[in-house]
């Protein structure tokens, strides 16, 4: 696993926040547009949630070994 996962998470969160802001800034929410945004958001939430599904931690022990010159 690389940093990519976290970047996606950050990006997803940013997108989600912007959707939330959009909703909060609308005086009268356009139904069609609103439902589109909600669908988009739901997908982002779902994909972000996957990241939290019991990701096991890795454990590596470091030693001052001969090979480590």
């Amino acid at each position: 696993m690389t940093k990519k996962n976290e970047d996606n998470l950050t990006l997803s969160l940013q997108k989600l926040e912007s959707i939330v802001n959009w909703f909060e800034s609308q005086e009268e929410v356009d139904v069609e547009e609103g439902l589109k945004k909600i669908r988009e958001g739901a997908e982002l939430i779902q994909s972000s949630r996957k990241r939290f599904k019991e990701v096991e931690n890795e454990f590596e022990e470091i030693r001052n070994v001969l090979e480590k010159e």
Binding site: T10, V29, V31, V55
Partner: protein, 506 residues
């Protein structure tokens, strides 16, 4: 190649590197260690002929390496020549002074000791420190030698009168033939001394601004690559791992001693190892302890090592009273491994929480959209209902009015018809009544007429006297000579008044 010698050389190099705070190859490269294990040198010439070991290295490590090799050679001799007493043999052999002192030193190097005493003199000479410690009770002194580097690692500024414990082994300095104690570590004795040293370093670090919050680094977003430095033994590492969330952390763990003078070297080497890795954070942990047991975490050299780490350092060191200086300088400070784990969890938990919140917001907006539309429909339909009701109401009002009119009319008719029904009857009654009364009147009139009929009176003998057509009632109405008519019942008599007389009564 003598594998046992190589193993010991590797162990020796590790210890050396830790003590000097340098990388392993700076002590000696692998190749040189292998060559030593192969050639098993016994003299300076033999040793310096090995590639990588020149005068300087020999000066630094020569004796130790030769002693190490010698130890094995001796052991082998003992093992192979079991029946021969080496001591007796050696005693009979004539040695040169230098060689003899080498032998003495080899023997002395196994006299590892920890010695307590009071510092009576201190001299700094370049990379070395010469000092003397004396017994507190009896008259006994011990000259000591220490590398400046080792002294710095011990974190103790030597001062006369200070009570310390030195660790190391005795050694004869060949040019002078004098014994000195080669110290590898120093420790302060007594809570008071420790406390004073603690306070002194604390104020130094404070003055340098190392404890200021604005210097400290915050934990970045989503920490994942985490270095852990603590002891493998004890509950600390378990507490930490049990409390850290399963967020896909990558832990790089290094086991170190966490107490005693060697702990500083271990910890420093571990921090250096961690610095070479691309970490998001480093966690340094240790269970609680007294000021004395936590000395390693009050070590200046170690503290300076973490100050310039390229990642934030989390200190999770338990303590009774005085916070370890390392904790004060660390970027994030907690006092338990559990709290340390929670620091790492925080952001992951927060983002999970935020996701829930966003999800709820979406849920809210989507329901709101539906609700909004529904409300609109509801509003419209109720408006239509109202309008409709208004029409029907008007209608029903009219209906009611109409109804009331009908009722009124019906009542009217009923009353009229009722009246009409009774009219003939009444009329008849009244007629009868009228006729009756008329009849009676007639009868009355008849009787009256009969009673008053002058004719009847005339018959009775009464007469009517008229003068010029009018009835005469009084004497005065006529004069003498007037011609009068007297009516009787069967005709008229013409007379003339001869005289008139008034009634006497008048």
């Amino acid at each position: 190649m003598n594998i046992r010698v190589l193993q010991e050389l590797v162990a020796w190099r590790k210890e050396r590197a830790l003590r000097e705070g340098v990388d392993l190859f700076r002590i000696l490269p692998n190749r040189a260690l292998e060559d030593i294990a192969r050639d098993m040198p016994h003299t300076k010439t033999e040793l310096t002929s090995i590639k990588g070991i020149k005068e300087r290295k020999y000066f630094q490590y020569g004796k130790e390496i030769l002693a190490l090799v010698e130890k094995h050679t001796q052991r082998e001799i003992i093992e192979t020549k079991e029946n021969i007493s080496t001591k007796e043999e050696e005693a009979s052999v004539v040695s040169e002074v230098g060689a003899f002192l080498d032998r003495v030193n080899r023997a002395l190097s196994s006299c590892q000791a920890r010695i307590r005493g009071e510092v009576s003199s201190v001299q700094h000479r370049g990379r070395a420190v010469y000092f003397t410690i004396k017994d507190r009770k009896e008259s006994a002194t011990l000259p000591c030698f220490m590398w400046e580097n080792d002294r710095m690692l011990s974190g103790i500024q030597l001062e006369e009168g200070m009570e310390i414990i030195v660790s190391g082994f005795p050694d004869v300095y060949k040019p002078m033939g004098k014994i000195s104690f080669r110290s590898t570590t120093l420790e302060l004795v007594g809570e008071g001394a420790l406390k004073a040293a603690y306070e002194k370093l604390k104020s130094t670090l404070e003055e340098e601004g190392l404890m200021r919050d604005d210097r400290k680094r915050a934990l970045g977003d989503f920490p994942r690559r985490i270095g852990i430095i603590t002891s493998r033994d004890g509950a600390v590492i378990h507490d930490f791992l049990n409390n850290v969330g399963k967020y896909g952390f990558q832990f790089f763990f290094q086991d170190t001693r966490v107490e005693g003078q060697m702990a500083v070297r271990d910890l420093m080497q571990a921090v250096r190892n961690m610095k070479s890795r691309d970490l998001d954070a480093l966690v340094i942990m240790r269970g609680g302890g007294s000021l004395e047991s936590l000395q390693a975490f009050n070590n200046e050299a170690l503290i300076r090592e973490i100050v310039d780490a390229p990642f934030p350092v989390i200190a999770a060191i338990g303590h009774h009273k005085d916070i370890p200086l390392l904790s004060l300088v660390a970027d994030i400070t907690v006092s338990t491994p559990t709290a340390g784990a929670q620091i790492l969890n925080t952001q992951w938990e927060a983002i999970q929480q935020r996701l829930y919140e966003i999800q709820n917001t979406f849920l809210y907006y989507s329901t709101q959209q539906i609700m909004h539309s529904r409300k609109k429909i509801d509003a419209m339909s109720s408006q239509i209902e109202r309008e409709g009701a208004r029409i029907t109401e008007r209608f029903s009002r009219i209906e009611r009015i109409f109804e009331s009119y009908v009722i009124m009319m019906r009542e009217n008719i009923r009353q009229k018809s009722l009246f009409l029904e009774h009219v003939p009857e009444k009329l008849f009654e009244q007629q009868q009544l009228a006729i009756g009364s008329l009849k009676k009147r007639f009868e009355f009139w008849q009787r009256s007429l009969l009673a008053h009929d002058p004719h009847r009176a005339l018959q009775l003998g009464y007469a009517l006297i008229r003068f010029q057509g009018s009835i005469v009632r009084s004497v005065q109405e006529i004069s003498e000579g007037d011609k009068l008519e007297i009516t009787v019942c069967d005709g008229i008599i013409q007379v003339q008044c001869k005289a008139k007389t008034y009634d006497k009564k008048e």
